[in-house]
């Protein structure tokens, strides 16, 4: 097929998908299952149309692959270099991101529970924590590389610093979320601090904590990848991206981006799933499926 036919086919596909989506969106579903299927189908069609347009434009106008490779070429590259991608994924995600994420979120959580006991500390730490979570913490990456060396611990350190404050601020806010009525009820049961904490206040704080976990899952991946721009061993997603950009192997860069996007979306989805089962009582989950 010549480039122009592909372009025309892509545009036709896009129009068809658009029309189908308009029709689908106006369908009134009778059962929840059908509604769910429609709500999945619409974004899926939209994504497919986007990919088709991308493929069509890059081939139709013969865009140089250095600028923007077509999706089919990126897919070829992904399939052909699975071992490299896996090694990078292991270095960046399984080592740096997971370790840093666990330490940062854990430390933020523990400090929040400790701080919560003293109103004075809380009044001091909350504004400072809010300010720091708005700062470009990612800038400490060069310092961490200097302190902890080129391998994954320095990346994990950046991730710890980036995830700590969102977790701290959200947990402190969440611990204040339990209502006065419920707290008074716990007191009438003569429950001590720990019982109130574990049976009432922590469950009530869960929506906030999961909010922080979700924010942090994206932040952690960004932190680890950007930290690798400042110095790495010769493996890792950030290293691969900066190295292949230099060699103008743009399809490899896109393959890494695909892996990063997949890892990011999957971890976000996983956290969202756990959240739904932990905070089943929350109004935003109770209204689901009606």
């Amino acid at each position: 097929m010549s480039g122009m036919t592909i372009l025309i086919a892509a545009i036709v596909f896009w129009l068809a998908a658009w029309y189908a989506n308009t029709r689908l969106a106006s369908v009134r579903a009778r059962t929840p299952a059908v509604a769910n299927a429609i709500n999945l189908a619409i974004p899926f069609l939209f994504g497919a149309a986007l990919l088709a347009l991308w493929e069509g434009f890059t081939r139709g106008f013969e865009v140089p692959t250095v600028l923007l490779p077509p999706p089919s070429m990126i897919w070829d590259r992904i399939v052909n270099s699975v071992p490299v991608l896996w090694a990078d994924f292991r270095q960046t995600y399984l080592k740096a991101v997971l370790a840093g994420y666990a330490m940062g979120c854990g430390a933020g959580f523990i400090v929040a529970v400790l701080v919560d006991r003293s109103p004075f500390l809380k009044a001091g730490i909350m504004p400072v924590g809010n300010l720091i979570s708005a700062l470009p913490i990612i800038g400490i990456a060069p310092i961490m590389v200097m302190w902890f060396g080129f391998d994954w611990p320095s990346k994990a350190a950046v991730v710890v610093a980036m995830t700590f404050f969102p977790m701290l601020v959200n947990t402190v806010a969440g611990l204040a979320a339990a209502g006065h009525m419920e707290r008074d009820l716990m007191r009438t049961y003569a429950s001590d601090y720990w019982q109130t904490l574990f049976k009432l206040r922590l469950p009530a704080a869960m929506p906030f904590i999961f909010n922080a976990l979700k924010i942090n899952s994206t932040l952690a991946l960004i932190g680890a990848i950007v930290a690798e721009f400042f110095g790495t061993p010769i493996v890792g997603m950030g290293f691969r991206i900066s190295a292949e950009v230099g060699r103008m192997n743009v399809d490899m860069v896109w393959a890494e981006i695909f892996v990063a996007a997949l890892a990011g979306s999957l971890s976000y989805g996983l956290i969202a799933l756990i959240e739904r089962s932990v905070t089943f009582w929350h109004p935003s989950n109770r209204n689901r499926g009606l």
């Binding site: 106006s26 700062l135 990612i138 060069p142 960004i222 991206i241 900066s242 950009v245 990011g264």
Partner: protein, 291 residues
């Protein structure tokens, strides 16, 4: 006073911990130096020297403050050694990206609120777009755009745009949908047109949401601009200062660039917060809803 005292205590504690950490981290170097010179070194001497090292592992707070003062006030603004010059370059990219991102976010939100097709097809992808670590693509965007001849401000601003449109779009969708059914019904009894409902009810009601998300967006676009400066080979900007500092081991320079970025972020967020309070008051938002 009641609110200031705890904050002051926490800040003072952080600075104290910083000083202790600086002594602790920089002491091995001094001990090493003394051992090589073959003379004993007293703790008081170590203490003194760790405060004034040329390339410390962790510079003491006053060293950073001195460097900040030195590179902002005593240097000419046009000089390449002036932090004001670098901060301005980063700030201009940040602001351009922030404005483009805000406009894009608002346009998307208006589309999503008014069309159910857009709502169902765009919204999931907007959320997915943020699980992609865009900062990771930043170097490629810069390199690719510069190979087609687009250089300077725009590539960095595009990264800021990508980072800042998301909070604005999500916040605005929430805000434009925030009017209660009662108010919407009232507008219907006035036989208000769709554009009337939009301009007189939805837009004013969405203002608190808009400004809350703009605060997040401006911080994000600053991060985008800084990271956007990394791959350009450290020419100018705060990100370039970070990179150059890390190449040459100039820790004081890294820390001062970091603080300049932090101060800028704090100023931008405060500025938008103030603007938000003013607009909210003009739009007649009740104070408790304006949080």
């Amino acid at each position: 006073m009641k609110r200031v005292a705890p904050i002051f205590t926490v800040v003072a504690a952080i600075i104290a911990i910083w000083y202790v950490a600086a002594v602790f981290l920089n002491a091995p170097f001094e001990r090493d130096q003394a051992e090589r010179a073959g003379r004993p070194i007293a703790f008081s001497e170590i203490l003194q020297r760790t405060m004034v090292q040329e390339r410390p592992i962790l510079p003491a707070p006053h060293q950073v403050a001195a460097e900040l003062w030195d590179t902002t006030v005593t240097k000419k603004i046009t000089s390449k050694r002036s932090l004001v010059y670098h901060a301005w370059i980063t700030l201009s990219a940040t602001l351009l990206g922030f404005v483009m991102g805000t406009v894009l976010g608002i346009v998307l939100a208006v589309g999503i609120v008014h069309s159910s097709v857009l709502d169902k097809s765009l919204m999931p992808w907007i959320i997915t777009s943020q699980t992609i670590p865009i900062l990771a693509i930043a170097p490629m965007i810069i390199v690719v755009l510069s190979s087609v001849g687009v250089t300077g401000l725009l590539p960095k601003a595009l990264i800021s745009t990508y980072l800042s449109f998301f909070p604005v779009a999500v916040g605005m969708v929430k805000g434009l949908r925030s009017p209660e059914a009662m108010h919407l019904d009232l507008m219907k009894t006035y036989s208000a047109s769709r554009s009337n409902v939009f301009w007189k009810l939805r837009v004013p009601a969405s203002m608190p949401y808009l400004f809350t998300s703009m605060k997040v967006a401006v911080a994000a676009s600053l991060v985008g601009a800084i990271v956007g400066e990394l791959p350009t080979g450290a020419v100018a900007g705060l990100g370039a200062r970070l990179l150059a500092g890390s190449y040459y081991g100039q820790t004081v320079q890294i820390w001062s660039a970091l603080f300049a970025a932090a101060i800028m972020a704090a100023l931008l967020v405060t500025l938008i917060g103030m603007l938000g309070t003013w607009v909210n008051r003009r739009m007649g938002v009740r104070p408790e809803a304006a949080r």
